[in-house]
């Protein structure tokens, strides 16, 4: 019986021109979104590659100078010496022997690799820089870079697959479902169907399953196809897992809209009224609530001001520099093994600047941490508003699944800070002990290696949104099917 109804539904849907138009538009939108997602990722990778190649070129040039110098020492005899900082080209030992110069003037890039699904949801990845140059500057300087993109484009937002799912998919679902009962009733066919041994709920289930399979089939196939088209390797179990969550989120979100349409149908109004009510719900959940939340929540809980952070860290920097001799003493106190004789100590400009930057770091780091924790608290508060609209929950879920969320970036930045420390320590020690770098050292510089987050962390961040979506989906489903019980099949 079910199979019969489903196949009947499918055939009658297939004969309406509406379905083919909707599916074509949906498929085109997904293809266009995949194309633009791909462009976005390509541009990012190109940026990372160019930056890394440039820095590698700088270091290679320094290394070449060192090799030449070593050759000269070997030919002419003598000792490999340590260059003083001097930018004008000269005849002494090259800058490449000076660990301070190499560590400060070239940078190592810490790269956050895109996940397999990154092209599906651009999220915040068009704002935050996914390749961070790390050198001996302080932490506030390291965190200040961001990706560049036309602000007009950023304000409009990307046409990515998330946009298609969050904005357009509900429209298609509602277009297919707004008259699911009311139109049958208006045509008089509902009473005839109900004369058969099937309950209204069973009929509705069949109708839903049919629509569901058609739409989500298209979404899943197009989603998978676009994932492949953007060059994702599916040999990675993590990518499969992420894709599974992606499909699951789409399923929950799609079901919510289907159930909402059934619920509205169950109120027994005309198709035209149903259409208006559903269009209004779409407007409310997808447009008004998110934009309202954005402005109200961020006005009630404003993010701490970066302008304040800038001036405060500058204040700290100035303070620290005023006491640079003290800073220098403290620095040597921390690095007792490196204390030179008094005169050298005062003269050495770079030692001073390293000591200075460490003193600044000590002053600035708490400010930065305070800023970050304030920011997290604010994020947490705003996050609670996501439950007001399935569209917001869906957006958070899709960003998380695609690895373009602020949280994944923050985890990455944590790793960048660790690496920053490693880099600074390596070069500062080599520099302060006046240990000249040799060409072989160039292969031993610290390198950043991204440690992927554990899946449980990802799931933990994903679950509030998914549970919320599940909740509203169940709520809409139960309400719809309870309401169906009192549905009048024929006009009274």
């Amino acid at each position: 019986m079910y199979a019969l109804i489903i196949s009947h539904e499918a055939r009658s849907l297939a004969r309406t021109s509406m379905l083919s138009v909707l599916l074509t538009v949906l498929a085109c939108a997904i293809a266009f979104a995949a194309w633009s997602g791909r462009n976005m990722i390509d541009r990012q990778m190109q940026g990372a590659d160019a930056a890394i190649a440039f820095e590698a070129g700088m270091r290679d040039a320094m290394r070449a100078d060192v090799i030449k110098y070593e050759q000269k020492i070997e030919d002419e005899g003598g000792e490999v010496q340590f260059a003083t900082i001097n930018h004008a080209p000269g005849s002494g030992p090259p800058q490449g022997t000076n660990a301070g110069a190499v560590g400060a003037e070239t940078a190592a890039y810490a790269v956050l690799p895109p996940t397999g699904l990154a092209a599906l949801s651009i999220g915040q990845s068009d704002i935050s820089l996914s390749y961070v140059p790390v050198n001996m500057r302080n932490i506030v300087d390291v965190t200040r870079y961001s990706e560049i993109e036309n602000p007009v484009n950023l304000a409009t937002g990307a046409f990515d697959i998330s946009f298609v799912i969050i904005f357009l998919l509900p429209i298609f679902i509602l277009a297919l479902t707004y008259g699911v009962l009311s139109s049958e009733k208006e045509q008089g066919t509902l009473a005839m169907i109900m004369a058969h041994p099937i309950s209204l709920r069973e009929l509705m289930t069949c109708k839903l399953i049919t629509r569901f399979m058609i739409l989500l089939g298209v979404v899943a196939v197009a989603g998978l196809a676009s994932t492949l088209a953007v060059g994702t390797q599916l040999d990675n179990p993590e990518t499969w897992m992420r894709f599974g969550f992606w499909a699951g989120a789409c399923l929950l979100y799609g079901m919510f809209w289907f159930f909402l349409a059934v619920f509205v149908n169950a109120m027994g109004k005309s198709s035209a009224t149903n259409g208006l009510i559903l269009a209004g719900s779409w407007l409310l959940f997808v447009v008004i609530v998110p934009t309202l939340v954005s402005i109200v929540a961020t006005t009630l809980y404003p993010a701490p001001s970066r302008m304040d952070l800038v001036t405060a860290s500058r204040e700290a920097q100035t303070e620290a520099s005023f006491q640079y001799m003290k800073a220098l003493d403290e620095f040597y106190y921390d690095h007792l093994e490196l204390v030179p004789n008094a005169e050298d100590k005062a003269r050495d400009f770079l030692t001073l600047s390293i000591a200075n930057s460490e003193a600044i770091e000590k002053e600035v780091r708490p400010l930065y941490d305070q800023f970050q924790s304030q920011l997290n608290r604010q994020e947490g508060l705003v996050q609670q508003y996501q439950y007001l609209s399935p569209a917001i929950m869906m957006q958070q879920a899709l960003n998380e699944v695609s690895g373009t969320s602020a949280d994944r970036y923050e985890d990455f930045m944590g790793q960048v800070f660790d690496f920053h420390k490693e880099w600074k320590d390596y070069f500062a020690v080599r520099f302060l002990s006046k240990d000249p770098l040799v060409s072989a050292d160039y292969d031993r510089f610290p390198e950043f290696e991204y440690r992927p987050e554990s899946l449980s962390d990802v799931i933990a961040r994903l679950s509030p949104a998914l549970i919320g979506l599940f909740g509203v989906m169940i709520l809409a489903g139960v309400a719809a099917f309870v309401r169906l019980r009192s549905y009048q099949v024929a006009a009274r």
Partner: protein, 479 residues
């Protein structure tokens, strides 16, 4: 006659329950948007002016040091909010709010509010501009889609025409009636907002009034476009339902799909480099020299010229402090490189935006959006002007510091070493005046948008013509 039709239309609207509800909701949203917009604007302005004042003091009180080191210490420019940013926040969340102005480097703006906002901000802000651009057209469609189809279905159209009422009179009457209905909701909120502002005694300059009047007329034209389109479709369509579907479809396309799709297209047509690529190209050019002649060679040439100019043979004899003169020369060599790269990037951004504006031909919101941002002082051009202002400030600051040093330390030439340098104090740092930014004038802002005004005018003419044509061939029977 037009007056009667208009009055009938308005009376009918005002008595309709749906009108009450949509009216109340829209008014509440508009008031919320303006109030939160105002609150943000005010608190941003406070933060901005205090940060700027702090930074200016920090520049002066940075402690006695070598003037060139002082230029390295530099200063920050904090971007003031656009004069009408509480109405249209434009691109402000996505441009930086602070620019570090230091020796040797032209920097991008830092501290973009968007990077500190929850991702939900990417849905857009519910600003006054958003409501007028997106929600008001929907209300117009909602109030007007039955204008003709409804009269036809209830048989009153035949009655009207049989009384000798001219079709076009019905059109004008209905346009005025519905327009008045929408104005009844929107205008009081805006007037309330404007009153609150004038009580706060802000923005009463001449530029403010000019900006306001351009905004009012552009948004008015935009609303009229939707009003006449709605009437045209209502007269054309087989039934009210068909009219509604067509109109809402067009609305969704112009409000949500077109802007994003057009953005992606403009990115593909005028590609811009990512940060890494931009910096790598720029720094490569810096090292090689703008015209392929290495900066160090240029410095040697300049040294030779200086020797000739002063008739000397060594650095020690020069009457200007050589390291400072050299640093200033290096600085100037970089100007060409910076100009080349930053101008190219900004030109590409502007080209992208212009291309998006041109697509206003299919979605009028694209043209309106640009004009609205420009008049609110929150558009791309204002940001570029601000960035240009910071760069001229930076160049002047560095030139003044190096210039002072090259004169004041001239006697140090013969004992030139890093441990032997002069220090300057607050009095010297004060020769650099504090940073100031003047918003582009209304005239400047308007010049950029001729194309948008043309597009909107064409739309309006098209909508009016279409509605007249549709009314002329309007039949009293359902087709």
């Amino acid at each position: 006659m037009i007056r009667f039709v208009a009055r009938k239309e308005l009376t009918e609207l005002v008595r309709d329950g749906r009108f009450h509800w949509t009216g109340i909701i829209l008014a509440l949203l508009l008031i919320t948007a303006l109030a939160t917009g105002w609150q943000r604007y005010a608190s941003y302005q406070d933060l901005q002016s205090s940060a700027q004042a702090t930074s200016n003091t920090q520049w002066l009180k940075q402690g006695d040091k070598n003037p060139h080191s002082a230029a390295h210490y530099g200063n920050y420019a904090f971007k003031p909010a656009g004069p009408l940013s509480y109405f249209d926040s434009g691109v402000e969340a996505y441009t930086g709010t602070a620019v570090f102005m230091e020796a040797h480097k032209q920097n991008f703006a830092l501290a973009r509010p968007a990077s500190d906002l929850n991702a939900v901000a990417r849905f857009g802000d519910l600003t006054g501009a958003f409501i007028l651009q997106v929600l008001v057209p929907l209300i117009i469609i909602f109030l007007g889609f039955t204008a003709f189809s409804g009269e036809r279905d209830s048989g009153t159209l035949r009655q009207l025409l049989s009384m000798g009422v001219r079709r076009r009179d019905i059109l004008w009457g209905k346009a005025i009636g519905i327009g008045a209905g929408v104005a009844l909701i929107v205008v009081p909120c805006l007037v309330l907002g404007a009153l609150a502002l004038s009580l706060a005694e802000l923005n009463t300059s001449a530029g403010f009034m000019a900006r306001m009047s351009v905004l009012v007329s552009t948004y008015g034209a935009y609303a009229a476009i939707f009003l006449f389109l709605t009437l045209a479709v209502s007269a054309w369509a087989k039934s009210g339902r068909h009219a509604l579907i067509a109109l809402v479809g067009f609305w969704a396309f112009t409000a949500f799909i077109a802007p994003k799709a057009v953005t992606e297209i403009s990115k593909a047509v005028c590609p811009t480099p990512a940060y890494g690529e931009f910096m790598a190209d720029m720094r490569t050019m810096q090292a090689k020299g703008f015209d392929g002649v290495s900066p160090w060679r240029r410095i040697q040439e300049m040294q030779a010229e200086l020797y000739q100019e002063y008739g000397v043979n060594s650095v020690a004899e020069l009457p200007v402090y050589w390291p400072a003169t050299r640093m200033q020369k290096l600085e100037e060599l970089d100007h060409d490189v910076f100009d080349y790269h930053y101008n190219n990037l900004r030109q590409a951004y502007t080209d992208q935006r212009r291309l998006q504006d041109s697509f206003g031909v299919i979605a009028p919101i694209l043209s309106l959006r640009s004009v609205s941002m420009a008049m609110s002082g929150t558009d791309l051009i204002t940001h570029i002007e601000f960035m240009n202002a910071t760069e001229s400030y930076r160049r002047n600051m560095v030139a003044k510091m190096n210039g002072y040093l090259s004169k004041a330390a001239a006697s140090l030439n013969d004992s030139f070493s890093s441990s032997n340098y002069m220090t300057a104090d607050e009095e010297v740092f004060a020769i650099v005046p504090p940073f100031e930014f003047d918003q582009p004038t209304v005239g400047q802002a308007l010049g950029e948008h001729t194309r948008n005004f043309v597009i909107l005018t064409i739309w309006l003419a098209f909508a009016v013509t279409a509605s007249v044509a549709a009314v002329d061939r309007l039949s009293t029977e359902a087709r």
